[in-house]
Symmetry: C2
Subunit: 111 residues, 2 copies
């Protein structure tokens, strides 16, 4: 499957609106999780794989490719790392942590 990028139609959207491309990109298994794991600093391919519970290397590789194409991560000597663009995105996603706590409570599974 092709990497979803703003400016060109994505899955279920022929408008090419950036937000739709973003949902298409993030709405794939492991994508948000991977970015989340990289918040704490660069990680190697295998470290990432372990951090994600032994996720399939084939999928990991395709995700890493997509995220690189999307300029959200880059391959540095220390390993894969968020770009400043990716870092900004994660900062936008950060409030989700608080929300998910409330969510947990609402569902009566309040840890």
């Amino acid at each position: 499957m092709t990497t979803p990028l703003p400016g060109r139609p994505s899955r279920g959207s022929n408008s090419g609106q950036p937000i739709m491309a973003l949902f298409d990109l993030l709405g794939r298994r492991w994508t948000m999780r991977l970015l989340w794991e990289l918040r704490s600093g660069p990680k190697s391919f295998r470290t990432l794989q372990e951090a994600c519970g032994g996720m399939s290397p084939s999928v990991l590789n395709t995700r890493l490719k997509d995220l690189r194409k999307s300029l959200l991560i880059e391959n540095q000597p220390q390993g894969y790392a968020l770009t400043s663009l990716g870092d900004h995105l994660m900062k936008k996603l950060d409030p989700l942590r608080d929300w998910s706590e409330d969510w947990s409570t609402a569902l009566g599974k309040s840890d």
Copy 2:
């Protein structure tokens, strides 16, 4: 597949941390998109389907089920609508629209 909920292990995470369950839930095709479409008010099954470019009714149905279980949407007389919980989540996701514009620019596809 089972609906990911906080408090129980989700795909790639045996911790049951709410944020992981959230990523698991949102990291599925159409999920974020559906919530996004409901921001503007309640929509019927078929309206939603059209809004999402004719997405498969089978998938739509399972997503709606999942989102109801997760208390993010509910079935009202006017159609499917965000719960207050779902509405709060969308407010947290709203800054993504701005970010995606910057993203678009960075990729040189500035609309």
